[in-house]
């Protein structure tokens, strides 16, 4: 069962329209999310990783549109084209929360302060299952206990302000997991948390993957998290996938200049003070004034004239793909 494709995204384009300008936030991305595997999406802020997640969940603001491409959810009862569903339609509302669930970045704002934690977790059970109120309460307490929250019976009756950041995030995961979703999308779930709490959350997510065979899509900007949790990795830059592959492909044999530069620019724990950190020159371009062709070319050391045309995606191995005109020349320097 592990490795079976749960959701496939093909050539997805999501554009935003504001003040007569168009921001091509996601500009043609394709990937698969597989059962029992963790797919990590990495990139700097503004690269379109969160927009990709919101597109899959159909949680985009009204000024945006899926321009092209398809999102296919491979449900047990047959394939469902998510991109063709009505955002607020019955079908989408059924899938959202029960089949595909999401954990948001900021646990401080994702919970409603005027309802108890128990009520908020129970809500998704109310809409997606036909459990009685009593059974729902028992399930909520059970979920909280599984997430390692002490005294779940009492804690379920408390309001979010009584929870610490780590506990709120665990409550959110409990909420997301309440209906045993097939796919879990986690948008920077630990960015707002301390490392010791982060370690607790990661242990939980690994357990979910192993016990329930959940397909996880984890969005992060931290290469350390990638090395720790990922099975497959997508590197995004300015709305495009620049490189994708297994975690070994990306961390041991990076081909795209952006992936390489990204890996060179972070201090790695345990390498001491003499490690050589190279910064990437310049800054990410304005999304309304994008460079022509390869989006990374203005900051790339290997850019030539050919880079003013958008490179095609090429498969190096069956799992490893890169979109760069020069990846072959670059890897010869090693």
């Amino acid at each position: 069962m592990t490795g079976e494709v749960a959701l496939s995204v093909k050539n997805l384009k999501t554009f935003f329209y504001t003040n007569n300008r168009c921001n091509k936030a996601v500009n043609g991305v394709s990937f698969d999310i597989k059962k029992g595997r963790t797919l990590c999406v990495v990139g700097e802020s503004g690269c379109g990783k969160s927009v990709t997640a919101s597109t899959i969940m159909q949680l985009l603001p009204s000024l945006s549109r899926i321009e092209e491409g398809s999102i296919t959810y491979h449900a047990e009862a047959g394939d469902i084209r998510i991109d063709q569903l009505d955002r607020d339609g019955k079908e989408m509302r059924r899938i959202r929360g029960s089949e595909i669930a999401m954990i948001f970045q900021d646990p401080m704002t994702a919970l409603n302060p005027v309802y108890t934690i128990g009520f908020q977790i129970g809500e998704s059970l109310k809409y997606h299952t036909d459990l009685s109120a009593k059974a729902r309460h028992a399930k909520v307490v059970d979920l909280l206990a599984n997430m390692g929250i002490p005294e779940p019976e009492r804690r379920a009756k408390e309001y979010p302000h009584k929870y610490s950041g780590g506990m709120r995030q665990r409550a959110l995961i409990a909420m997301a997991m309440s209906c045993n979703p097939k796919i879990l999308i986690a948008d920077e779930p630990t960015t707002a948390l301390d490392v010791t709490i982060q370690a607790q959350i990661f242990r939980l997510m690994d357990e979910l993957k192993e016990q329930h065979g959940t397909a996880i899509m984890l969005i992060t900007h931290d290469m350390g998290v990638v090395a720790e949790l990922a099975d497959e990795v997508i590197v995004m830059y300015m709305g495009n996938i620049v490189e994708a592959g297994t975690v070994d492909d990306i961390l041991r044999r990076p081909k795209h200049p952006y992936t390489r530069a990204l890996l060179d620019s972070i201090p790695v724990l345990g390498r001491g003070r003499n490690q050589d950190i190279k910064s990437i020159r310049g800054a990410t371009p304005d999304p309304y004034q994008r460079p022509k062709g390869c989006q990374f070319s203005p900051r790339c050391d290997f850019a030539t004239e050919t880079c003013s045309a958008m490179p095609d995606e090429e498969y190096i191995t069956e799992t490893h793909r890169v979109s760069c005109h020069h990846y072959k020349d670059i890897s010869q320097h090693d």
Binding site: E44, D194, S265, S279, I280
Partner: protein, 341 residues
């Protein structure tokens, strides 16, 4: 590293408490012990890292050092360069007397988006400290600010622009330029690179190191990112609930982690290196409230090695020697845990 080093700041039993008030008469009902008895020497020309989880008091300590928050008790002695200024306990100074020392000690804040006034041009923001410290002519101020912007790798003419025209990394560099403008001896960097993207973070880190070499600066580097501290710091102080639990030279700390909290903290950092997977020690529970810290060693409720003594007696920060270097740790059981590490 035992040669006599030049101390710039000496913290002795520093405490910063915040009173909790309740009721109609706002009676004091308790204290948040944000900084609870810190002893620390900061040497000239070093980079001292202050690390710990949120709520451990590292930012309060940084602000207490600059007297932005007045400490409740204790001493902060400032030793001027080449002994000319003598030693002064800054906690005893009035705000007016403190002005002279603000020139020596500066701070770079975490959030580059809120630390610059959006209604002022960069020149407007940066000229205030210069005016205060006696640069009277506008022409001269413009020249100095232009030089500063060049020193942080920005263009001279950026000084007439407004903060919204800059990216996060550029704003952080402007923040650094502002701190440099009065030629300080010590800069407190409070999470100075935490809000930046990784590629920009590397640019700012390199800039900070360059400036340190050129201007002989001392940094107190407050951060929660232990990969960054390893790269930039000479010594690291690990804080937990307002106390220093371990203080050591950087290589030493990473090689010989003595305190169980440091061990857990370092092991829970995700490392971007597939060949360097370590066994993770996952701490249970959350950081206790600093209003009612646990008795004895503040870490004992979460510690794997805790014994009876840990819940009754507060361990002192004592000196041990690892790898021929000074290493300070506050744990009753250090000898037991050294072998376990």
């Amino acid at each position: 590293m035992t040669e006599s080093r030049d101390v710039i700041l000496q913290l002795r039993d520093l405490k910063t408490y915040f009173a909790l008030r309740q009721g109609v008469f706002q009676r004091v009902t308790g204290f948040v012990k944000a900084v609870d008895g810190i002893n620390l020497d900061i040497y000239r020309g070093e980079v001292l890292g202050l690390v710990g989880e949120s709520g451990c008091g590292k930012t309060t300590l940084g602000k207490s050092i600059l007297q932005l928050i007045r400490p409740t008790a204790g001493e902060i002695t400032y030793h001027g360069a080449d002994g000319t200024d003598g030693a002064v306990d800054m906690c005893c100074l009035s705000d007016a007397e403190m002005v002279a020392y603000r020139k020596k000690l500066q701070i770079v804040f975490q959030d580059p988006h809120s630390s610059l006034n959006p209604a002022f041009t960069i020149f407007g923001s940066l000229q205030d400290p210069l005016k205060k410290y006696g640069v009277k002519s506008k022409k001269e101020r413009r020249k100095i600010i232009g030089d500063l912007l060049e020193a942080v790798n920005l263009q001279r003419d950026y000084m007439d622009r407004y903060p919204h025209e800059f990216s996060g990394g550029q704003r952080q560099r402007i923040g650094i330029a502002r701190a440099l403008s009065v030629e300080p001896e010590l800069i407190v960097c409070d999470e100075a690179v935490s809000a930046l993207d990784v590629s920009i973070q590397a640019q700012v880190l390199q800039l900070l190191m360059d400036l340190k070499k050129k201007r002989n600066l001392t940094y107190i580097f407050i951060t929660h990112d232990l990969s960054v501290t390893e790269y930039i710091c000479d010594r690291i102080a690990v804080m937990y609930l307002g106390r220093i639990v371990e203080l050591a030279h950087t290589e030493d700390l990473y090689e010989h982690r003595l305190h169980p909290y440091t061990q857990a903290l370092l092991s829970s950092i995700p490392v971007a290196d597939l060949d360097r997977k370590t066994k993770r020690i996952v701490l249970e529970g959350d950081v206790p409230s600093p209003i009612n810290p646990p008795s004895g060693c503040p870490f004992h409720p979460r510690c794997r090695f805790a014994k009876d003594i840990c819940s009754t007696e507060v361990p002192a920060l004592r000196k041990v020697v690892t790898g021929g270097k000074e290493h300070h740790v506050s744990c009753h059981l250090v000898d037991d845990t050294v072998t376990a590490a």
